[in-house]
Amino acid sequence: MKKHVIFALLVFLLLFALVGCWDSVEISDMIIGIGTAYDFTEDGQIELTVEILMPSKQEQGYSVETKTITVKGATVIEAVQNLSKVTNNQFTWAYDQVLIIGEELSKQPTNIYIDSWNRSHYIRPDVYITISKGPAKDILNVENKDSLNSQAKEIANLMKGQISRGNGFSYTILQKDLFSDMMTEGAAAILPIIELNEKKEVELAGLAVFKDNTVVGELDSTETRGLLLARGLLQSSVFLVKDKTETNLVVLNLLGLKQKYQVKEKDGKVEIIIKLEVKSAIREQIGYEDILQKEQIDWLNQALAELIKAEILTTWEKEKELKADVLHLGQQINRYKPKIWQKLREDWPENIQKITLSIEVKTQILFQGDINYPIQYKN
């Protein structure tokens, strides 16, 4: 019995060799990094800008101020380590809201900055990643004294609403999405672009397109929505169409989008059909026509389908121009016709040109709102 107890205790003590209180840090002693920006300096170094929280105790609750620290290093991790020049270096990155890549750095190969994000478990996989126009540190350095939230938190809030409530201006990319895009064959990675407007507010500015490890181009807002429609990612948007008489402007609200790829092959020619089912509702009408007539509704449906097709086609043109597969067509060929993909994959960016893309859109207007006709003065 005694032997057993001693044995059990020894086994138990061994556990302390595995882990221990060496990485125990009180939360109040930690520096909370809330946002990080990465820039590429002229001398080829990585410049890291961290927005840190400085919460302070109040009579009731707390108040938060933020400040930014900028350090340089040959690599990201060296820069992070160099933070110890100015801080005690007890950072927690668990609350990092956003990673911003500066314009200059984005033109460099990605492998010089993304490795550490993925390698360490300190950064959450669901952190937002963006590319900035101009230096990334300028975006974090904006003073926002009136707000309790930090600049990084505000960017995160801006990104958070984009998928479910946005208008297709941009798309939210989390760290894990970026890596999965980068690792997928026949799929170009995209990242949202943010910029500072004249009032020093953060604004969305389309998507950046990756090819061969670097950013090669941008999609404007029309092309962005085309991309989201083609890939079936759009959840919320409004479309402006003219009615049959061309006098009334009707705003249609997207209610639901179903998307399906179809890959066909004939005599070595590959055709990809994107099938879309769009459900929408009338949200606004400028004019007094009775648009609830059947021919009017049919017309509106037709106009919406044309609009969607046109938007997707602009993206398609851009894709061919950039030779970057933002519509993820290669991935679909790989999925549905893997043998053909084996032939195409070698020189896929060039082979994009050989693909025929056709779009089939079925539209359906479901509701017209609480009124059937616009209100007009009768006197």
Partner: protein, 503 residues
């Protein structure tokens, strides 16, 4: 009456009264409360008789009215007066016996009997004249119920047996008596329902009680500690209650009750883990809320045992588990407090235990003062002065309240809470996992009088009365792991209240 501890006395009476008295006096010693009174009964053949009793244990009116008066009024008679005709014709108390052995006589004497010795008789009459001050039946303060019987056990064994008997009016009600304690000669009763209780458990209980050989038994807690299965375990494997209805219900599930004279706490064995989560009120109120409250108790147990440990593990090791805003709240509250989280919780926990102990021990008015000082001074001022952070106070206070919900586990829960706190402080979440492994492994290894402690969860039997309580008419099966004999069904099949037939 099974005499576990018979007194170490030998010898019998003789026909000589003076010699008999000398013998008894020699055993009892001079300086005691024993009263001797000599009378002469029957004028013509006047015989000397002598009463012996211990002052304070007897009811003087019983002696004077039912023994003394009839005896002195015996008319002059031809016949010689014998003990037999005294007991049959004159003494009008209920319990009366004859004995010759000094052992029995002394035993009865110290239990409040009156001993009547008669000249020329080698036997004594032992007349039951017990009477002493006792507490009346009141509502027990430990197990307060909103709905349910208010009566509780008292210190008197006979009263307690009567209370229980009134709940279980059935000939199967079986009672076996023991005397335990060399000096206290405490009466202990083992009570069970013959047709339900597991004969092996009954046998084991009797065996363990007979084995007890100590100077004194003052409370059922003595018995509990001397008969339990796992003396090194933090968990109790013997249940206790102050409420007759609760004990009776437990006996209906096949448990054995142990009653100790002088203690209002009645023990029940075997004790199961699920029992500690039950309250008699669960069964008296309708099932929905009862089931919800049962669930709340399990949550409270979790909070009271794991609460501080998990808090410390999150604060010191796994900060990323906190939502962003909460992390800010906690980190700002923690700023500038001199102690780290483990120490803070430990100190406050100790202070809380001190306050609790003071509140229990002190007389009630002083206890209130203690709680005010505790709540205001320790709670508010310590936070305001920045000695201890507010979240720590919330955690400690929350755990303390939660630990009272699962009342029978309060003490073992406190022990494990400290273990988990230390493990979390050293190893973080990993430590909590290791601790939990030991915790559940230990619970699984426990047995109470041969029944696994975690039954009916593991090994699995009917789970209708565990984490939630099903309606009464669905609890049709008797817990067969406790009640091995008898029918397996405790109610008829058709107990579900049926809708009134259409007429």
């Amino acid at each position: 009456m099974g005499n576990t501890h018979s007194l170490d006395i030998t010898g019998t009476l003789t026909e000589d009264l003076a010699e008999n008295l000398a013998k008894i006096n020699a055993i009892m010693g001079k300086n005691n409360e024993m009263i001797q009174r000599e009378i002469i009964i029957g004028g013509k053949y006047g015989q000397t008789a002598c009463f012996l009793y211990l002052d304070g244990l007897i009811d003087k009116r019983t002696i004077s009215d039912f023994i003394l008066k009839p005896l002195q009024n015996i008319a002059v008679d031809e016949e010689k007066i014998t003990l037999e005709n005294i007991s049959k014709s004159f003494i009008s108390t209920v319990e009366i016996e004859e004995a010759a052995e000094l052992k029995v006589i002394i035993n009865r004497l110290i239990n409040g009997f009156t001993v009547l010795l008669l000249e020329g008789n080698a036997e004594a009459l032992l007349i039951e004249t017990r009477g002493w001050e006792k507490r009346s039946i009141t509502e027990p303060s430990t197990e307060v119920v909103v709905r349910g019987p208010r009566e509780g056990f008292v210190e008197n064994l006979q009263t307690n047996i009567a209370l229980l008997r009134r709940k279980l009016k059935h000939p199967d009600f079986t009672l076996e008596r023991f005397v335990v304690g060399r000096y206290t000669q405490t009466n202990v009763a083992v009570v069970y329902l013959r047709s339900l209780a597991d004969p092996n458990v009954v046998k084991e209980v009797k065996k363990r009680i007979e084995k007890i050989d100590i100077d004194g038994i003052f409370e059922s807690g003595y018995i509990e500690q001397l008969i339990e299965d796992n003396p090194y375990s933090v968990f109790a494997t013997v249940g206790n209650s102050e409420k007759p209805d609760k004990v009776a219900a437990k006996m209906l599930e096949g448990r054995v009750a142990i009653m100790v004279d002088g203690s209002p706490i009645v023990l029940t064995v075997p004790l199961l883990f699920v029992e500690t989560m039950q309250s008699s009120e669960d069964y008296y109120s309708r099932p929905y809320y009862a089931a919800f409250v049962r669930l709340i108790r399990y949550i409270s147990l979790f909070v009271s045992v794991w609460g501080p440990g998990i808090y410390v593990a999150i604060i010191c090791f796994h900060q990323e588990l906190l939502p962003y805003e909460l992390s800010l709240t906690i980190s700002t509250a923690d700023i500038n407090t001199p102690f780290n989280a483990v120490l803070g919780i430990f100190i406050l926990g100790i202070i809380y235990e001190i306050l609790r102990e003071a509140g229990v021990r002190l007389p009630r008015p002083a206890g209130e003062a203690v709680s005010i000082v505790g709540a205001l001074v320790i709670g508010q001022t310590a936070v305001a002065a920045g000695i201890i952070s507010a979240p720590v106070v919330i955690v400690v206070a929350g755990t303390a309240i939660a630990s009272f919900v699962t009342n029978p586990l309060t003490d073992s829960g406190t022990m494990y809470r400290i273990i988990f706190l230390i493990l979390a402080g050293v190893l973080g979440g990993f430590g909590i996992l290791i601790g939990s492994m030991f915790f559940f492994g230990h619970l699984l290894s426990l047995k109470s009088f041969g029944v696994p402690y975690l039954a009916p969860i593991l090994p699995t039997y009917s789970l209708r009365d565990t984490i939630v309580r099903f309606p009464l008419w669905m609890l049709d099966k008797r817990p067969t792991y406790l009640a091995t004999s008898g029918s397996k069904h405790r109610q008829a099949k058709n107990q579900k209240p049926a809708k009134e037939a259409k007429t």
